[in-house]
């Protein structure tokens, strides 16, 4: 394979890894190992929202590639498959066409279908409401609210609002629904219902991963991730606070 093709394949895999939520060191390491399989030295600088990588052959040819990543999700299955692919590239030195085809397959692959994911989001809310000392009834309403929010969030994502809007509106809706349930259907512990139903949104894993990055020595990306997590928490918090303030005024009227 030529330098160009190797760098193209390596950065494509790096991009997919990063957008599936892989750690920084894993992305850097994978790209370096893919390059090494074809005797090309790949040096990269990876940040949470993009990276640049340079491939260099032994006779001094160089090529650089910059990638910007827009949306990041957590998709462990994709990371696992990409990991396997990079191992195979290392061991068998696959040809360019084969690798491109494999990457296409991995990119397309849907795993769990949408209804199942909605149901799981609901069950997450159901169990965590009870773990945070809510009653079974609270958990039941949190289940319904989360299912609704999960669908709406997926829909809102497609409209192309600014990045934190979906978190704001989800938090807002969670609190509004909880208030609605409390006032018109059944008296519940509002704060427990809200906490349970935003469990799938809050950036707990993101904060922990940010500190993990710092412990590996990737200070810049650690701070970036920590900042992002704080903004997400702030968006949800402001959304919920806004709804509660409205709700309190409305109840006392």
């Amino acid at each position: 394979m030529e330098v160009k093709q190797v760098v193209e394949v390596a950065t494509k895999i790096g991009e997919l890894l990063l957008s599936s939520g892989a750690e920084i060191y894993r992305v850097e390491d994978t790209m370096r190992r893919i390059g090494a399989a074809y005797k090309i030295e790949i040096e990269s600088f990876v940040m949470p929202n993009g990276f640049s990588a340079t491939g260099k052959t032994s006779d001094g040819k160089m090529i650089t590639c910059v990638k910007r990543i827009k949306d990041r999700t957590v998709d462990l299955h994709k990371i696992e498959l990409l990991n396997d692919l990079s191992r195979r590239i290392e061991a068998e030195k696959l040809s360019y066409d084969v690798i491109v085809k494999e990457i296409e397959n991995i990119e397309k692959l849907p795993y769990f279908n949408f209804p199942l994911r909605i149901l799981s989001a609901g069950i997450v809310a159901f169990s965590f409401t009870q773990l945070f000392e809510g009653t079974v009834l609270d958990a039941f309403f949190a289940f319904i609210i989360t299912c609704v929010i999960y669908v709406l969030k997926e829909k809102i994502e497609k409209f192309g609002f600014f990045q934190f809007f979906e978190y704001f509106i989800s938090g807002f809706l969670a609190a509004i629904f909880a208030l609605f349930v409390n006032n018109f259907i059944w008296t519940v512990n509002i704060d427990k219902v809200i906490i349970g139903s935003i469990m799938i949104l809050v950036p707990g894993i993101a904060i922990t991963n940010a500190i993990k990055d710092a412990l590996y020595g990737d200070i810049v990306s650690s701070l970036a991730r920590l900042g992002e997590a704080l903004y997400i928490a702030a968006s949800i918090g402001v959304g919920v606070g806004f709804a509660l303030t409205l709700g309190i005024g409305w109840v006392t009227l």
Binding site: L76, H77, V124, L131, P203, G204, I205, I207, I211, G241
Partner: protein, 153 residues
């Protein structure tokens, strides 16, 4: 005891379905859920006995780190497949939300306290997992090296 069992099952369910949202391989789901369930049980148990939540979180995270390394070796998948769902019940997501919520309602002092608690919890989890998994990997390397030496002799 019955209450602990109930919480164990709930944490299992939460991690199991959380793992579905993280998109992990079907046949690993059960083991990922089990990791979360046991981690939460350890956490609850230690909080009950010592009353120190961050210490309990740290020990639970150490367990998650060890469990996921052992399971990763057994089932031949990367360790994070188990460690991410495993820490899902422990991570301070709601705590971060509480921090912001307290701040938006003008309770600055309580908010800052919550914020520090959030940072400490996240630090305890990250440090616990990394410590356990690195320790396991080094130990594993040492054992396999000494075994190799013995077989060569």
């Amino acid at each position: 005891m019955g209450d602990t069992m109930r919480e164990f099952l709930l944490a299992f369910l939460g991690s199991f379905t959380g793992a579905i949202l993280f998109n992990i391989e079907r046949y690993n789901l059960f083991w990922a859920g089990l990791c979360g369930g046991i981690a939460w049980a350890i956490y609850k148990f230690l909080v009950l006995f010592s009353g120190r939540a961050i210490y309990a979180t740290f020990i639970a995270a150490v367990f998650v780190g060890l469990y996921s390394e052992v399971m990763a070796r057994r089932l031949k998948t990367p360790a994070y497949v188990f460690s991410l769902p495993g820490i899902y019940p422990l991570v301070p997501g709601i705590m971060a939300f509480d921090t912001i919520n307290l701040l938006t309602f003008g309770k600055l002092e309580e908010g800052i306290n919550k914020g520090i608690e959030t940072a400490a919890t996240a630090g305890a989890i990250a440090f616990g997992i990394l410590l356990a998994s690195n320790f396991y990997q080094v130990l594993d390397k040492l054992i396999s090296e000494t075994l190799n030496k013995k077989t060569k002799k």
